[in-house]
């Protein structure tokens, strides 16, 4: 609803595709079925349950994890947070001419996803809240000339619930709040979130909160588990692709978090579909008739839509789990729900990349221009939108030739198919590890295959709605 950034997610008209778009959905489903059969025949033992982590040369790890590098990266993160807040308050209130919305909604929210998948948990180093928390902790220890009081123990039941709530709040800001991309509102949201994070870090400690509660740390960490790179202590190492997900601790709130991740992208796509545009005015009228102010009635309707999308994703996953539990093996539905939830992370990746590809490639050029070679974009030179030209790049217009509409569609289909095949592979590998009979393992996966085909069809239908 607030997505008034220059390029929405797929406002391009595809032409001369060799087959109808819906037939791509059938082909994708066929790929999944063939992959399922291939896994059943050619993948008889679990291979991803052990990461097989091997350290890279010692000097590399020592340099990358050194204190100066940590400080520089953290300081850069704090600088970007500060610039976001400053430009939000002091800059123009146009969402496209101000640095804050593009940094937050495009470079940070979308761009860091593929970055995490390729390079590992990069956000941890640049996390401004972690950097400030650690700096304050260091100052407190130095001033006290000794250890400071230990923080409270992070409650086990809290798990990843705070992260799920944080990502839901972000999605609400982006998709529900009518002026959610207004720079000033983003600045206020950043300050409120920072304050809450500092209170939580003071209560539970910096590392405990960053690992489990801080929404963006948890969000990007989930994606980084797909990567082959992982930091352990002062070493950087490589592991098997996807194996980081298999070793993910299934904490309380993880299912909700992943449902929010996929459900919010689903709603962003569905909001462009006639199905929703026909329903929304009626819902809005309903809220207005029961006393909600006119300007908030549509927001209430969109919030209902967002929550409905999340619940549909949540319900569909549990349908697969209930089906898997019905084949036997002695596992409760709850156990299976947590045991297989990591398989949905590549699907969340597929949804993000497919849905926001054009937004990242086009609007992202406001900060990183993609000409013959990458260079700084207009917002780097003019972050406040006041006509300044700090780096001499204020004249860089967006290069719309980086990708054609048909290439976009092929990339989106590829993301969707690869993401779901990855999810299927993870589910198959986990099933082999937990079921004592291979036949049970395969039969339980019929249901997960159904879930994957469902998510694939939904993803491609949502993408097609951008053209409706």
């Amino acid at each position: 609803m607030s997505s008034v950034l220059l390029i929405a997610h797929g406002l391009v008209v595809r032409s001369d595709l060799p087959i109808p778009e819906w037939l791509f959905g059938w082909a994708a489903a066929m790929v999944l079925v063939i992959s399922f059969v291939g896994l059943a025949v050619l993948w008889p033992e679990p291979r991803l349950q052990e990461e097989g982590w091997r350290p890279l040369p010692d000097w590399f790890g020592r340099v990358i994890t050194s204190t100066p590098v940590d400080i520089v990266c953290g300081a850069f993160g704090v600088f970007l947070l500060g610039l976001t807040v400053y430009s939000g308050f002091q800059g123009t209130q146009s969402s496209t001419a101000n640095f804050a919305p593009t940094l937050v909604y495009v470079i940070f929210w979308i761009g860091l996803v593929p970055t995490s998948v390729i390079l590992g948990d990069l956000f941890r180093a640049f996390n401004p809240w972690r950097a400030i928390g650690r700096a304050v902790s260091w100052v407190a220890r130095t001033a006290a000339r000794g250890p400071i009081p230990a923080p409270l123990e992070y409650p086990a039941w809290l798990g990843r619930w705070p992260a799920a709530a944080g990502i839901l709040a972000f999605a609400t800001m982006e998709l529900v709040v009518s002026e959610g991309s207004k720079p000033e509102n983003l600045a206020i949201a950043a300050l409120v979130y920072s304050a809450l994070t500092f209170v939580a870090m003071a209560l539970y400690g910096v590392d405990a909160w960053i690992d489990r509660g801080e929404a963006y740390s948890v969000y990007f960490n989930l994606f980084s588990r797909i990567s082959i790179f992982e930091r352990r202590g002062r070493q950087i190492g490589v592991r098997k692709l996807l194996s980081g997900l298999a070793s993910m601790e299934p904490l309380p709130g993880t299912v909700a978090l992943v449902a929010v991740m996929i459900g919010s992208v689903t709603f962003d796509g569905a909001a462009e579909a006639p199905l929703w545009t026909n329903i929304a005015p009626h819902l809005s009228d309903f809220f207005h008739n029961i006393g909600v102010a006119q300007e908030h009635a549509l927001e209430a309707a969109f919030f209902v839509g967002l929550m409905a999308s999340i619940l549909i994703i949540y319900g569909f996953y549990w349908l697969g789990v209930v089906g898997a539990a019905s084949v036997g093996g002695g596992f409760s539905k709850r156990q299976l729900g947590y045991t297989f939830i990591h398989t949905l992370v590549p699907i969340a990746l597929a949804y993000v990349m497919a849905h926001y590809l054009t937004l990242l490639l086009f609007q992202g050029q406001s900060l990183i221009y993609l000409g013959p070679y990458p260079k700084l974009g207009v917002l780097a030179s003019d972050p406040l939108g006041t006509g300044s030209n700090i780096f001499g790049t204020a004249e860089h217009a967006i290069n719309f030739n980086v990708i054609t509409s048909n290439e976009t569609w092929y990339c989106q289909v590829a993301f969707v198919v690869l993401g779901h095949v990855a999810g299927l592979t993870l589910a198959h590998d986990r099933a082999l590890a937990i079921y004592d009979k291979a036949r049970l393992a395969v039969r339980s996966q019929y249901w997960m295959l159904g879930v994957m085909i469902g998510f694939t069809s939904l993803a491609l239908w949502l993408l097609s709605q951008a053209n409706t």
């Binding site: 959905g25 059938w26 006639p274 089906g323 019929y446 249901w447």
Partner: protein, 41 residues
């Protein structure tokens, strides 16, 4: 014309989800067949 246009939208929408429907039908058949075999055993 309008209802036909809407029907077109619905039909194409259904086409996207045909593989899911087909898979669920197949799964139901397999489940029923397995149950019957279990009862016979």
């Amino acid at each position: 014309m309008l209802p036909i246009a809407h029907a077109g939208h619905w039909f194409i929408g259904l086409a996207y989800f045909a593989p899911v429907i087909g898979f669920l039908v197949w799964l139901a058949v397999v489940q029923i067949r397995d149950r019957r075999r279990g009862e016979d055993d």
